[in-house]
């Protein structure tokens, strides 16, 4: 069983994807062409990008429930500033503001010592309120059409830009987590904070940077989504945080902390998008998507719970894992 679960951690998500692909290929003729597949990957990229950041947060032993509100904040700031600053300037300010939110989260969690749950839950409520105040509750239409090129154009005539952003961010996050000292420190502080502290790591700094990274990734998706719709939406993506958490956990990143699996996260993002595509084929209402994501999360948790349980027994029995 331990072997199976170890194996699942590595390739489980691929099995799910292959199964889902075969299923979709049988039931939907459309699935068998390139455009559909690319569009599914693009739809999955939004969740996946934020889940890269979330993977860091979970690896460090925390998590962030404020990501959907960060998206809304980014969207609103861009929409309000774009007439005066142009799109480059407004994007930079929006992303910086989001990083500052991440910094605040980090400070509240590490310095004030409030749990990640309470900090980020409150932050979500505060940011939603703040975004609504900025636009006075309205959605703001962006008149600069050129801004659309950021999220809605296609590279080489066929590859949607969000996929490219996802690939680039994946490479960056992957290198940070797996090839740098900082990445090792993140894993160390998640797997045993006390030990990491005693070995001289600056836990507060590490965790604060992690929360900045989460907010940064959420902000990028906020930019992409805003560019696609050309509307600044203060209440953007309600409930999206659950998608992101589901993707990260389904991808094999354990809630116990200390082990991040970014490759799994990437493919879990695509898998969730496939579920949505399948549900759309069935023409069901949007509530069923909520239900599906919730159930998928519970399934992922079930596997994670089993894994932790068996790893614990394996440790007691002295099996090397």
């Amino acid at each position: 069983m331990v072997k199976f679960l170890k194996l699942y951690e590595k390739i489980g998500i691929f099995i799910l994807i292959v199964a889902a692909s075969i299923f979709l290929a049988i039931v939907s003729p459309n699935f068998r062409n390139m455009d559909t597949i690319l569009s599914i990957i693009m739809q999955g990229s939004y969740g996946a990008i934020i889940a890269f950041g979330m993977t860091f947060a979970i690896t460090s032993g925390g998590f962030d429930l404020s990501v959907e509100a960060v998206m809304g904040l980014t969207s609103v700031i861009i929409a309000m500033l774009i007439p005066s600053l142009g799109f480059a300037g407004s994007i930079i300010i929006a992303v910086l503001a989001s990083c500052f939110v991440g910094f605040l989260n980090g400070i509240l969690i590490t310095k004030v010592g409030i749990s990640p749950l309470i900090t980020t839950l409150s932050m979500q409520v505060i940011l939603r309120g703040a975004s609504l105040i900025i636009t006075n509750g309205r959605q703001v239409v962006i008149s600069q059409k050129s801004f659309m090129s950021i999220g809605a154009s296609k590279a080489f005539g066929f590859l949607p830009m969000p996929i490219i952003y996802m690939a680039v961010l994946f490479a960056i996050f992957y290198i940070i987590l797996n090839q740098t000292t900082f990445g090792r420190h993140v894993a160390a502080s998640g797997s045993n904070e006390q030990a990491a502290k005693m070995s001289g790591l600056n836990i507060s700094l590490i965790k604060t940077v992690v929360y900045i990274l989460v907010a940064f990734s959420a902000s990028i998706v906020g930019v992409i989504r805003t560019s696609q719709t050309l509307i600044g939406i203060p209440t953007m993506a309600p409930g999206f945080t659950l998608n992101v958490l589901t993707i990260a956990i389904l991808g094999g990143t354990s809630l116990a902390g200390g082990r991040g699996n970014l490759i799994g996260t990437l493919f879990a993002g695509i898998f969730i998008s496939m579920i949505y595509y399948g549900l759309n084929l069935l023409n069901v209402q949007i509530f069923y998507q909520m239900l599906a994501v919730g159930i998928t999360l519970l399934f992922a948790l079930f596997i994670d719970g089993l894994r932790m349980k068996y790893l614990e027994t394996a440790k007691i029995k002295g099996i090397r894992v």
Partner: protein
């Protein structure tokens, strides 16, 4: 502890003062402030009665959450639980009458709480994430069951529970009082209360001393369901309908705020029902005051978030002053 005379340092005195009188002081300050600025519209007997009656919505749900946080867990699915139990109860009431509807609401909520408890204990997954998943599942089921149509509550008995009055006071006040009496008895006079504290303080020690930790947790999550069910009955009655989308929206946030503001430590192991009740009153007094003063609702939203962070920080300060921090 009570029979030993403890000499407190000034710091500890400040800490214990913050714990016991801080909340009453905050409540009086908020009440005084809005009474002075809004005068008659706020400071009148009818409004005070209404505010206390409204506080039953958060106050009753917060009882279960106090137990839960005392064991060191969270349940953030309660808003959706309220909605799902509410719509099922309301639709049962249409066919089978109000008494059945009320019973269905409470039983459904208790079963949903039991489900949460089973998931949390049997799979050993952190409660917040399990209940986050349930938050979406319950809400989705409420939508699917009603096809996004509100279920109207017309039964006279059910309407009376939330809107009637008894001895000149709104009926919800009596229900809330009864709930707190029962909860207080369970926490202070029955073994269950000691078990909760033991599990929250040190779950391993509790388990070694023969307490069935899993059963205590399952019971706690089920109790959350029961109290949320009672709250759903009153909420549905006051609104006259159970709306799958709006009912209980943001409820978990208000309830957790009340519990934390009431002085229950997030790490578990200590807590007070009196504090929770006072905090529920504070939340409602503040909210009503801001609404009466026509504060923009978006600012109110920001304020609720800030209040929670400040409440947790104050709690930290209290325990630091008392020297209980790690």
């Amino acid at each position: 502890m009570d029979d030993i005379k403890i000499v407190l340092t000034p710091k500890q005195k400040a800490g214990s003062w913050l714990g016991s009188f801080g909340l009453i002081a905050i409540l009086l300050i908020i009440f005084g402030f809005f009474s002075l600025t809004l005068r008659g519209t706020y400071f009148n007997w009818g409004n005070i009665k209404n505010m206390v009656s409204f506080s039953s919505y958060v106050g009753i749900g917060a009882i279960g959450m106090t137990f839960c946080i005392m064991t060191g867990n969270f349940d953030i699915s309660i808003g959706s639980m309220l909605a799902l139990a509410g719509v099922l109860g309301a639709s049962a009431a249409l066919k089978l009458g109000g008494i059945v509807g009320v019973i269905v609401t409470i039983v459904v909520a208790a079963l949903l709480g039991l489900l949460n408890g089973l998931f949390v204990t049997k799979l050993k997954i952190p409660a917040f994430i399990t209940t986050l998943g349930m938050l979406f599942i319950f809400r989705a089921l409420a939508y699917i069951y009603t096809n996004n149509n509100p279920q109207y509550i017309t039964d006279r008995f059910w309407i009376f529970l939330g809107n009637g009055s008894f001895l000149g006071l709104p009926f919800p006040i009596f229900i809330m009082g009864l709930c707190y009496l029962i909860a207080f008895f369970m926490l202070r006079k029955a073994p269950f209360g000691r078990y909760i504290l033991a599990v929250g303080t040190n779950s391993r020690a509790a388990s070694l001393s023969g307490i069935n930790v899993e059963n205590v947790k399952i019971l706690v999550f089920t109790l959350i369901g029961v109290f949320v069910g009672v709250s759903a009955v009153l909420n549905g009655s006051m609104l006259g309908a159970a709306n799958p989308g709006m009912m209980g929206d943001g409820y978990e946030f208000q309830v957790i705020t009340a519990v934390v503001l009431g002085g229950t430590a997030l790490a578990g192991g200590s807590g007070s029902l009196g504090g929770t009740l006072l905090a529920a009153l504070i939340v409602v007094f503040l909210k009503t005051g801001m609404s009466n003063a026509q504060v923009n609702s978006y600012w109110q939203q920001v304020a609720t978030g800030v209040v929670l962070i400040v409440a947790v920080s104050l709690n930290k300060l209290k325990f630091w002053l008392l020297g209980q921090a790690q």
